[in-house]
């Protein structure tokens, strides 16, 4: 039985039926990680002892019978920008190479309360800047984890998920507490699950969502069961194809993939029609202005004084900090700090940052109007099928490739990426707080193939 290749809900069935134990399941994953991770490079830290100890606890719960959650005994990867108490949390940055958090993130608390199993801390682009949560997506694709909990700011869960042909669900901003998630752009960061399909993502989200008094932006809205609408008929669901999104797609394979998804929805009884998002053309610029501004502020804390890497050189306090940050940060991070300072600086603030905030307000108004008429918006996740991990393109080109994910991030909307044949992924965006409908539509699309 290929337990590691199963979906979470199937593992649940077999764990509950005692066909295998969580310890056996975890040992299988750990063996696969040992055999394959040198090549896949999904994990920064493999938490072998903790994983087995988590699994033993989970088995005890299952043996006692009843009263445990859907993730009990399920082996997961957690992105290395989510704080795990006493366990190295590096954000894949030299500046945090030796950082062991003295506190647990809200996401980890939730997973622990469910007796989920922590396999290890998954790799990501430094601080999530760049392609994003690559280790999380890859670990799920390679069955090195049953699912992953990572972050999405401007597409950092969705785009790697699309590339590695898995599913990522970015919740509505405020749905999941950001306490303990290393801040990149605080007004857009969201803890997001990646799993083999929409239903598994919804199962993980059920465990993560909920108000947290330690995160002021965390919503007090009641948390529904995000799997509740799965399998219901989508007849009459209104699916929107944004004209500006379609015009932006240059790759014919990607365009056909989206149009085929639209046809599939129509065949399932949904109403598909076009709509317009006028401010879309400014969304990449608005995203990079706002996210870099927020990042430059959030990263100011990394100075090596109270935690993190400290440079051995520094004649005085200021020089020590400058050397620490220069040696600690990679080039992309430095670029974003410079960009953030630029857009916030005197003489530029009104032209860039304030304007970007105005565009963001306009995007929200336009999305509000669209979701008065539509239930779901359909687009590709990525501009092109392939991503050049070697980074042959210019930074500007790389930033432009975020075009389909950033606008939903700016507006705080939930969005899910499901795999298609191209590797660009199909993205569905829903109205605020409507993750259940989003999962319903995504599940319908995934199961139509």
């Amino acid at each position: 039985m290929d337990a590691a290749g199963m979906k979470i809900r199937d593992m649940r069935k077999y764990l509950d039926g005692k066909d295998f134990s969580s310890v056996e399941l975890t040992e299988e994953f750990l063996k696969r990680i040992e055999e394959n991770d040198a090549e896949s490079d999904c994990f920064i830290t493999v938490t072998k002892e903790k994983a087995l100890s988590d699994a033993e606890l989970a088995d005890k719960k299952i043996k006692e019978g009843g009263g445990y959650g859907a993730l009990c005994g399920i082996p997961l990867a957690v992105s290395d920008n989510i704080c795990t108490k006493g366990i190295l949390t590096t954000c894949n940055s030299k500046s945090l190479e030796n950082f062991s958090p003295p506190y647990q993130s809200a996401a980890m608390e939730k997973l622990e309360s469910q007796n989920a199993v922590l396999l290890g801390k998954a790799s990501l682009d430094e601080f999530g800047m760049g392609f994003g949560s690559t280790g999380s997506a890859r670990s799920v694709a390679a069955s090195l984890s049953a699912g992953a909990v990572c972050s999405d700011t401007g597409g950092g869960a969705r785009r790697p998920a699309a590339y590695f042909k898995t599913t990522a669900l970015r919740p509505t901003y405020g749905r999941v507490s950001r306490f303990g998630l290393t801040a990149f752009a605080s007004s857009m960061d969201q803890v997001s699950p990646i799993a083999k399909d929409a239903r598994d993502c919804a199962i993980i989200l059920n465990s993560l969502a909920g108000h947290d008094k330690r995160d002021m932006t965390s919503s007090k809205n009641e948390v529904p069961d995000f799997t509740a609408k799965i399998g219901r008929d989508i007849k009459g669901m209104k699916i929107g194809l944004v004209t500006e999104f379609l015009d932006a797609i240059k790759d014919s394979e990607v365009k056909n993939s989206v149009l085929n998804a639209a046809k599939t929805f129509e065949a399932l009884g949904a109403d598909v029609s076009e709509c317009s998002l006028k401010s879309f053309r400014y969304s990449v610029a608005a995203y990079y202005i706002i996210s870099s501004a927020e990042a430059s502020s959030n990263l100011a804390k990394f100075d090596g004084i109270k935690f993190g890497y400290r440079s051995p050189d520094g004649a005085d306090y200021n020089e020590l900090i400058a050397n620490t940050r220069s040696e600690g940060f990679g080039w992309e991070v430095k670029r974003r700090v410079l960009l953030g300072n630029f857009v916030l600086s005197s003489g530029q603030y009104e032209e860039y940052f304030e304007k970007a905030c105005a565009v963001r307000q306009a995007l929200r108004r336009e999305y509000d109007e669209i979701f008065g008429r539509f239930d779901i918006l359909l687009s590709p996740t990525s501009l092109a099928a392939a991503y050049d991990f070697g980074g042959a393109g210019s930074p500007a080109e790389a930033y432009q490739s975020d075009i389909f994910t950033v606008s939903s991030s700016l507006a705080g909307l939930p969005s899910i990426s499901v795999p298609d044949g191209t590797g660009a992924g199909i993205s569905l965006t829903g109205a605020k707080w409507e993750e259940a409908a989003l999962v319903q539509a995504a599940d319908a699309l995934e199961n139509s193939k």
């Binding site: 901003y173 520094g314 900090i321 410079l338 630029f342 963001r360």
Partner: protein, 92 residues
């Protein structure tokens, strides 16, 4: 973007860039700012009263003393001595 501007921004960000890095940054920034400049065409004005409506800012938590971290826990990740963070002399 000229080197002086890059050096100024790097000082703001407390990044010590070498001349070579500053040159590289100037080139990168020029390309990036080119794509950001489209924002100037947007015919929108920021409404400070509606602000960031996407975020619901909930009540402040109650002003109740919580269990503090121990000094040891907080010092664990830092260069420290005698319960102090060690830094180069700031004042002579």
């Amino acid at each position: 973007m000229d080197l002086e501007a890059v050096k100024y921004l790097s000082e703001l960000g407390k990044l010590g860039l070498s001349d070579e890095e500053a040159k590289r940054a100037a080139g990168d920034m020029a390309g990036i700012i080119e794509i950001l400049d489209i924002i100037k065409e947007a015919d929108v004005i920021f409404d400070p009263l509606s602000g960031n409506r996407g975020a619901t800012l909930n009540d402040l938590r109650e002003d109740i003393k919580d269990k503090p971290f121990s000094t040891g826990e907080l010092m664990k990740n830092a260069v420290n001595s005698d319960n102090c963070f060690v830094v180069p002399k700031v004042l002579e």
